[in-house]
Symmetry: D2
Subunit: 401 residues, 4 copies
């Protein structure tokens, strides 16, 4: 066993699943805030990969500040058009000069943003519906040589920060998370009228769950109001089906409740995102690292997307604590609710947090003491392999929002 300061305690509250009121939200990949998160993270990963490729190590960068300024659009049944383009400004720092080499950081950023948008929001024509600009300052150069060397070293914490992770997801969380994911993949593949800007809020009061969906419809595939009403109904039905896979509680699904169909005021878009008309966005304002906004749970304010995965302790600890929490729950029986919190201390190696505190709610018939050693071992192992998180981020295997 290591010398790491790992504390495992019984949490002094009910499991989230057992609380009276629960609120959960997820902003889909086409939401303006998520677009910013996605670009920021794809820019960051691209920089990391290029650094490794060109100089053999990840140099200093931080690109966690993309800003989206909404456009103006004129949607119409059968197909309208974008009037003023969305403007996206990629902001951050990156090391451009290293040992005589010039790394084209701004072009790398633009290319990554382009590829991300074309893959995830294909309805947005790059350079026409959306203008992407970039302002990357020079990195400080101080934090350069920490990753990618022959012998990987564990870097020192660059800040006093913390990360937090939870597992398992509650039923409401499962519904909210999976409904968005499956709407955007499975459902949209067969129903091209559904835009990527799907925002889902789940509210549970006792055993009654309300799922409220705001789903941007794409005008090109909605010929008239009847088609729109049908589309809304299909989304509702699909989400209800998804929900039933995760719960036996009563679920009510509401889709586009702000619509005034009579008045013709509906959620119709040209591109499938509200960014086309009036909704600005930025990084770190939406989903936390586990893909959800969960006011019933402890959350970090840290923006995870776009940060350097080598030494940005807030990013690493948010992803790692989530990873550890999921591992504990999948490997140890009898855990009803678990929170992992990692607190850094500036200047210490990041695999030795100031404290790793784990709060557990066990099933009624499970004694914490019997599972404590297992939990501690998993936490210890996660910390020992902290650089795996870095590698998985660079490889694009971990979601950050």
């Amino acid at each position: 066993m290591s010398e790491r300061n790992i504390r495992v305690e019984r949490i002094d509250r009910r499991a989230v699943e057992d609380q009276e009121v629960e609120i959960v939200e997820r902003k889909g990949i086409g939401h303006p805030d998520s677009i910013c998160d996605g670009i920021a993270e794809s820019v960051g990963s691209a920089l990391a990969r290029e650094y490794l490729d060109r100089v053999g190590k990840v140099l200093h960068f931080n690109t966690d500040e993309t800003q989206l300024v909404a456009g103006e659009a004129a949607p119409a049944f059968g197909g309208g058009e974008v009037v003023d383009p969305i403007y996206i400004l990629i902001v951050g720092r990156a090391t451009k000069h290293y040992e005589g080499q010039t790394i084209p950081t701004e072009r790398i950023a633009l290319t990554a943003a382009r590829e991300y948008l074309e893959a995830e929001i294909p309805k947005l024509t790059f350079g026409e519906d959306v203008v992407v600009d970039v302002k990357l300052g020079e990195g400080s150069g101080d934090l350069q040589d920490v990753f990618g060397e022959e012998e990987v070293q564990v870097p020192m914490a660059n800040d006093t920060s913390f990360g937090v992770g939870h597992a398992p997801l509650s039923e409401t969380e499962e519904i909210v998370y999976n409904a968005e994911q499956r709407l955007n993949r499975e459902f949209a593949a067969e129903n091209p009228y559904l835009g990527s800007d799907v925002k889902i809020m789940g509210k549970r009061e006792g055993d009654s769950i309300d799922v409220t969906v705001a789903a941007a419809m794409i005008d090109e595939h909605v010929p008239d109001m009847d088609a729109y009403v049908d589309a809304v109904a299909s989304v509702r039905e699909y989400v209800a089906d998804v929900a039933s896979e995760y719960t036996d509680r009563d679920v009510s699904v509401y889709v586009n409740t702000a619509d005034a169909v009579e008045a013709g005021s509906i959620y119709l878009t040209v591109t499938g995102t509200s960014a086309e008309q009036g909704d600005d966005g930025s990084v770190g304002r939406g989903n936390r690292a586990n893909g959800l906004i969960t006011p019933n749970r402890s959350m970090s304010m840290e923006a995870t997307s776009g940060k350097n995965p080598v030494n940005h302790i807030g990013k690493i600890y948010n992803l790692l604590s989530t990873d550890i929490a999921e591992n504990v729950v999948s490997e140890v029986d009898g855990i009803r609710d678990l929170r992992v919190r990692l607190l850094s201390q500036i200047g210490r190696p990041i695999d030795e947090p100031h404290v790793a505190d784990v709060h557990v709610v066990t099933e009624d018939d499970v004694d914490l003491e019997t599972v404590r050693p297992e939990i501690e071992a998993i936490v210890d192992d996660g910390l020992a392999n902290v650089t795996d998180i870095t590698q998985r981020v660079i490889d694009g295997e971990l979601d950050t929002f």
Copy 2:
């Protein structure tokens, strides 16, 4: 008694003050994220006041997306200089045309930003050390006539959202909050070397509190390294004194711990903010509406600064729930910890939330049932006078970060 859905319950956890580990953070007014919050909110209030002045009601606007791109500076003992200016982009929506009048929304925004910066970060020469640009789209016009009419009407909720407030502050929270406030007012007034970018993190483990301060020093008033070391010591001493006013626990204060004095690597700045060199910022990434980041408490991800105080339910409910919590604690004896959460329902008047749930930890000798009526009455009264929040925001009386 009203028909409002107010629930007062015993909370199923220990008071934050009694939890084993507590983490609290505050970003001072000169932190890049706070600069954005401050500009966003001052722009929003200025728009609201101008609308009232010009057309007698607050028209639709939302200016919660200011983005700051860091500059580059060359600080030096005795006075260095800004090399590349900070760039600030004010982003949002505002109604520019109303019944034949044109409201100069962009110029109002620029003027408000200028006045805010000159008042709060006077070391930044506007237009030279910092470039402020603005992109305000047109508002939708839908939500225009909701405030300022002869008879004030309670507006309808524009979204499904929630706000959360807490009281009283824990000792650690008091220390963190007040140390920053008093450093930036009292201390800086007499010690001009202290910049406005003061970031404080408090960590309590049991009865031991660590206060870590990152304080940007202003080079013009720091002639040499000895002076710098003295300045750091003075800040440390001052914060320790402040802390002792709020707690009897052991407090350790650390200031600028990342310094490497030997190597000459210290936290010296030209303008008193890290925005001058590499630290970008944006709205809603820092302090919550009560001025703190408190992962031990339920938090809303909603950015409060810059939002329309008439109908933006997230903003109103965050401010109102905090206000209610403080009122309950100041008026009702025996409350050890209290959380107020307000949940809106789209389309219902905002004084009738879907649910107002109040979770209380009482002192050991206090029975919740004896104080319940008082609490309910205060909550009910707060909701009944929800438009007071709007007025106080417009008058600049409520802090939003």
Copy 3:
């Protein structure tokens, strides 16, 4: 005969061909100033065509202010890369709202710019090597309904301005103009190493002509220094051949004379334009409406590209006077040099200029009086059909730079 104020006079100087010293310059299509001219004009034509298509008439616009901010590149034999993108800002005015319709002026502009760049400077990857942004203000709306109605009316002059045209081209002018055109079309098609940024200056002293060519080479197609030297030699030889088609005078051709081959300082680029590295550009700073810069001839400072072809008198008169001059020379024998100058009077129909003055140098054996009626008739006819110029601009048939 019309009542138009047409004056035909003998010019009081030698023909340009007969002057002792002559200077002529042409910036090729890939020169930063020409890129701006090209984008401005393509944006303008696209707007005109869209207006005709959508509302049946050309509404007010003016897009003659594109600004290019150079990028940074790292060319290398065999293929380097763009490091910082070129930034292009399309600036101007356009009517966005007309009788209830919204015309997506900014998107039209972006699309036109994209298509222009992809067609003319294909080495620039849109959105990666070059960022195109747009700021189009609203037009005044005053000058809207002047073109495209069932019955075409001749618009009134909107300004006091003038245009000037010349014919025939001198030998030096022919060489400079055609060398650039043929290098960029014919030669580049077979020799992909030649970039589009070809700048040619011709100087004639007596019967000796120097042609100085600055030709950006594309690194991808230049494997090494020998290849570069060969490429330069091929361009020199090609231009010498072209020149010999237009003159019997002595011609010396110099290509990339600023090169220091020994020192490795050569004109190598990634994209074929100096805009990739340090050379900014804007509209109206390069070639005049006839494609040349000719200090030996009277020139208008008016930027022709991007202006509204319906009522912008400076644009129309520059194009029309050039057209008239060419027509006179092709139809009337014995003209050695001819200048047509059209002066508008604000508020008068543009087919009735304040004065149309034609200065003629005839061949020695030709009496001006014998050709005067022919010349007057051609001028009169050109003015009578002034709206043809507008149509040809909209159809993209007239070059403006």
Copy 4:
């Protein structure tokens, strides 16, 4: 006598003063193009002075590309307001790093622009009515050490370019130039309603001169339409008086002829410049180096403002040739019209132009041969002291537009 290639010849045309039709234009200091010229030049001079001050020599820079995007304003009798700010983007290259020093080029540029605008267009509140942004790339570093060393060396020409100057001014030129200057200085000092955006066009046909003035009036000082009509009349009268000082010919003065007083369509502004409403601007599109646009004379297309005065041959030769022309005319009797043209040869010292050709029209009773030696001596002397031009530009003693 030097070995310089100086040619003095009789010009093969009438003096401009004797030509039948003459056109002259001047854009006043508040015209959008002139604002750009003024900022570009003040930024350039400020950089040159700072370089001299900090490193003892002028480093490479070029700032001749300022772009102005017009704002939107709502003028009203007695005082209206700017609605959307003017946006000015300073574009160019400057050397930021030199021998370990960092020169704050962007801040220098912003400060210079601010000071220029506050001095020349004081009605524009910096940062509110006008946003000034800056994008200065790094200079190439090649052309650094050419001016300011202990022993001033004459630099080599960096380009094949030419400059042209004329003297004396014709009567029409004198009227146009001086009317603008005196309106903006003398008249405006006593009549605060006159804005700085005064555009004057002079047309002479034979002995009849029309002077057309477009003068932006400042609404704050114009209480009503009568006051406006009076203001226009005062300007007309003043210009007529100025004109009579320079000519005995018939002069007609027209002021704001595009006004439709009945319809209330007049040239009223908030800030005294049309940049506030719809008129964009850029460098090098307005006045030539001698302050005028003179299609009757040979002109260079080169933008003079903002260019490096040490080695930018186009700038230096335009200023020097004008200076030489004026010196010749003031020192040599009997010159009726004179044109000096200086042609550089890349790589040769700039005091040894490829050719300096001087074309002279003498008074009828003066033989060119008698004045030739004097003229040659003055030209030779001007070239020998070419670096004086550089110094005077840096000292702000030479106008460039």
